[in-house]
Symmetry: C2
Subunit: 602 residues, 2 copies
């Protein structure tokens, strides 16, 4: 098994140099207690946790103690509780929690950097801890003081674990169709009845309690999304004496998945014995709005997951390519010479460079979104609005690009290993099985693409798109200052013009009321948009690297690292960016082939 899964040097470069985490500690009282140098120490300790508690269990969790229900109890791998404990004790579960709730109140970029480490070390093992943090945050944001008092501490401490319970058998992508019901009781609670499926980390055999953040319809509520409310539904509720009693949440099954086997995706039945109580969070019928806070974070978390698995796959591939000897240079076929390391073959280098470009580009985009997330909360009026728009626009892209391209990237990693990549002797086949889910989680690529084109690009009269173009333009302007970057600045400028053209062409259909046509190829629009967003992130990294190179202080490995950033940027522009050509052509071609025509599928 490869020993490396992440580069701390790269995380530091992205967090400090490219995305300037110090901007927060310098300019906002909210973070004034922090010193950016401390963030590096946090990442070092995160890496230690990864090395000790997570990574050594990556392959075994895929094969042994795979979660399942035995005699009604959901058994998980025995290392999972240790991981949950380590996350709570090291403070990572409270990393961005405000001080008033005992949190560290860090800029979210630091948490994201930590997530990259943990997910790259062992993505499937992180569900319990991460979903708990997300669920607790929902209560913290929208719950009553009573709910906060009862749940927050226990959850942030990792004693009670949380889930998000949305999907039902007939309500997956179409959440408006969910049917789980909530009937008001005299004591202010609600009786919950219904079934939820695909609930990640939906139950376990080690935590004192499991707290489901569940969407349901209060009796008589409007149909559709306007009648959905959010509830806290614990596995064990407190009775009148304050003692924990069974709350009629039954683990009905564990889906057997292709990958991410460490975390069970569960089928849960609520209120089969009509004895399941839930507690309303916030106001009735506002549940979906609340849930979108968690959903949006979860979408960014999926981007982190995609990039992290790609990271682990890249470093494993790189190590193998350096060690594995096979063949000779194409123009030097003397069989008496020893074989060379496969990294010397151009094609293998292309595959590795591709992996690196996808992965580091994805990571940079996640940091970008994380920065906007932060500024949408703490920035001043205009800055705040600007970054809220950017965040809204980027969220579906951050969810999708690292997933879709990450799948390809990990698959390319398998190819570097040849036949060995297809076997359990190396971790790549598991990584491909793991990452394959990312384009489905938290809204499939189809859903994200309709969100991007159908909502985000056009919302508020295109204000978010304008904010985005403005932001990319800033980077282009910066890049024009460096001779070596000028050709790439020019390229990105041209690509942005093409993207605008395509966008106009498509929104033209919407304005004519042709909504189905407008969105029919939204997936391809997403692909185009994502490619350019990553080109932007590469130019941004290129600017920073060139600046540091020009300053002349870097030498040795540090200089090589900066040069490799420039090289990978070039690779992305020469190998990936040309793909926009075909996409733009299709998106501006009006031949209708997928609206109607069901009978053509035989």
């Amino acid at each position: 098994m490869a020993t490396e899964y992440i580069s701390l040097k790269n995380l530091r470069f992205l967090m400090h140099d490219v995305h300037d985490v110090a901007y927060f500690t310098k300019n906002f009282d909210h973070y004034k207690q922090h010193d950016p140098e401390m963030f590096d120490i946090m990442l070092d300790t995160a890496k230690q946790i990864g090395d000790k508690e997570l990574h050594p269990f990556y392959q075994t969790m895929d094969r042994k103690h795979v979660p399942d229900i035995f005699d009604g109890v959901t058994k998980v791998h025995p290392q999972i509780p240790n991981i949950v404990k380590a996350m709570a004790e090291s403070g990572w579960t409270r990393a961005i929690v405000p001080e008033e709730y005992g949190g560290m109140q860090l800029p979210s970029m630091v948490r994201v950097a930590g997530e990259f480490i943990f997910q790259a070390a062992n993505n499937g093992a992180m569900f319990y801890s991460e979903l708990t943090t997300g669920a607790a945050k929902l209560i913290q944001s929208f719950g009553s003081e009573e709910l906060k008092a009862e749940y927050l501490e226990k959850m942030y401490d990792g004693e009670w674990l949380g889930t998000m319970a949305l999907t039902e058998p007939d309500a997956g992508s179409s959440l408006s169709d969910l049917t789980t019901t909530a009937t008001p009781q005299d004591d202010g609670s609600f009786k919950i009845t219904g079934q939820k499926i695909f609930i990640s980390a939906g139950d376990n055999d080690f935590s004192e309690n499991v707290i489901h953040l569940l969407l349901a319809r209060i009796d008589g509520a409007p149909s559709g999304t306007k009648g959905i409310s959010l509830f806290v539904v614990p596995k064990y509720r407190k009775d009148a004496k304050g003692e924990l009693v069974d709350n009629d949440v039954i683990p009905a099954g564990v889906y057997h998945k292709m990958g991410q086997k460490a975390a069970p995706a569960m089928h849960l039945i609520f209120g089969e014995k009509e004895n399941c109580h839930g507690y309303l969070v916030g106001e009735p019928n506002k549940g979906l709005k609340y849930m979108f806070q968690l959903m949006n974070s979860a979408r960014i978390a999926v981007g982190v997951m995609g990039a992290s698995i790609s990271s682990a796959a890249y470093y494993a591939s790189l190590q193998y390519a350096k060690e594995r000897k096979q063949g000779r240079k194409i123009d030097a076929k003397n069989v008496h010479e020893p074989q060379i390391a496969i990294i010397e073959h151009a094609d293998v280098k292309r595959m590795l460079m591709y992996q690196k470009a996808i992965m580091e580009g994805s990571m940079s985009l996640v940091f970008e979104a994380s920065r906007s997330f932060e500024l949408s909360k703490v920035g001043d009026g205009e800055e705040r609005e600007h970054h809220q728009l950017l965040l809204d626009l980027l969220t579906p892209v951050v969810k999708t690009y690292p997933s879709e391209e990450g799948i390809k990237s990990v698959s390319t990693g398998i190819q570097c290993f040849g036949g060995y990549g297809y076997t359990e002797d190396f971790p790549l086949e598991q990584m491909l099985r793991d990452i394959r889910i990312t384009s489905i989680y938290e809204g499939t690529t189809g859903i994200q693409s309709m969100d991007l084109l159908g909502r985000k690009v056009v919302m508020k009269g295109g204000k978010a798109a304008m904010a985005y173009f403005q932001e990319v333009n800033k980077t282009v302007e910066e890049a024009f200052k460096y001779e070596a970057l000028k050709p790439y600045a020019k390229l990105l400028k041209k690509e942005m013009e093409q993207l605008q053209q395509v966008t106009m062409h498509l929104t033209g259909k919407a304005m004519q009321g042709e909504i189905e046509l407008f969105l029919a190829d939204a997936n391809l629009y997403m692909e185009l948009f994502g490619l350019i967003a990553i080109a932007w992130q590469w130019l941004k990294q290129g600017v920073e690297a060139q600046k540091q190179i020009d300053q002349g202080n870097a030498a040795g490995d540090d200089l090589n690292f900066l040069q490799s950033k420039i090289h990978t940027m070039k690779f992305f522009f020469h190998y990936e960016v040309p793909r926009t050509k075909g996409l733009a052509q299709r998106l501006q071609d009006d031949e209708v082939l997928t609206v109607g025509f069901e009978n053509m599928l035989v």
Copy 2:
């Protein structure tokens, strides 16, 4: 589990109408005993075997009785022997074997059509039978009369099973480095010593014998590929009395693979006790040349496998998309209306159409190659040479396109299922695990791409490429006769011009002696070449469909089938062909990024 995995109607359309199997029965004595209508009956019986012996065991073979070694015995799924028997008894193992060896002497297109059925039904289960046929064919082509007498009947009868034993721990893509040795013995046999890995179906617990067609170096042979000889190495050899005795071939391990679990990939040790005898096939030092007969068939067989798994995935996705209700039309969001089948969503239709276009395009290309294979044997002088050139050129493409694009196509199928696609409740996740190997088997995509650009395109002064351009041009000319096809004929013509331009640009580098640069992006050249080859196959299918529509005899489902061919052709031209733009751009862009620069990979 989906009940459909292949369309006989489509196979018949491709075999009879597009690729004109009757051309053989009409024009060549070799096939004069056959009536093309009989071929349909053969496919019907093949489908019955698929339905009864293969498909019902597809998922269980992935999970139960996965082959492994127990007390030195390689145990396989108990249905495997039944499948081997069914293949032999139904005559499929002898489908293209000449009558003199008891075969049916069918055109290979018929065998290919049968293969599509079997592989689509249960790809992993077919290894034992198929490798045996390939191994027997090697003996039949190059072995002595003695070897033929001893092995052929037993092998074609499925009593003795065969393997191809090439790969060694340090000789995978680089076969010239293999080190297994053969020491001449007084009795004319050779003592074999060495290890082979990744030997598919390398051993079993049910056949009377296992016959390895093995590459080794005779003591003192030249190094490199010029010193490799081919041997028959049985698991049990005949002693002086004609009795079978152990031949010192030890099953040392079974690789645990991501997919295709029904067939063990094995590590075998030959001659650990210095008691392993092998029998030379043909002349010494010509082994690699002989093996390429099997290798080339195996490469086409991998193309069949890719297209077949894509077929099973498509029909499963299609069925699910028709049954699964979720959401409403984008412009009709009344939640009081019932949900619609997901096939009605444009994005789902795009994904299904994509799967269909990849799969039926791939199948057509395989038939094309199979036709050339046949004509390279039985055609008259000029025709024979023309088709040998075409076959040589197309073989790496037939191996690669259905593999690489098939992987994407099956992954797209998972996406149609949403979260369910990631679970064992549906067969798609297994299909993705199964098909992932195809881009590695029998020479990775990297190796195929270098073969295409570095050998096939330039061989004999570009004669194969010329033959290919000529062949495509014929289809373009045909298509120009139909008003509805003219735009697509024009498009393909333009694409061919661009391909020629790119080819000239690249071969220009070769002529300047820049061999490494010439081949650095061979993979992208393969992608470009493959896209256009499939566009050709779609235009060819379009011509046939349009012709039949114009004849006016088709109605109902038959007419709809033909119209769906035209529609899918259009889809391929509008959605897939534009991808050539980006590829052509990169291939004509001289920025060097992957020759040298190992230190940029950090």
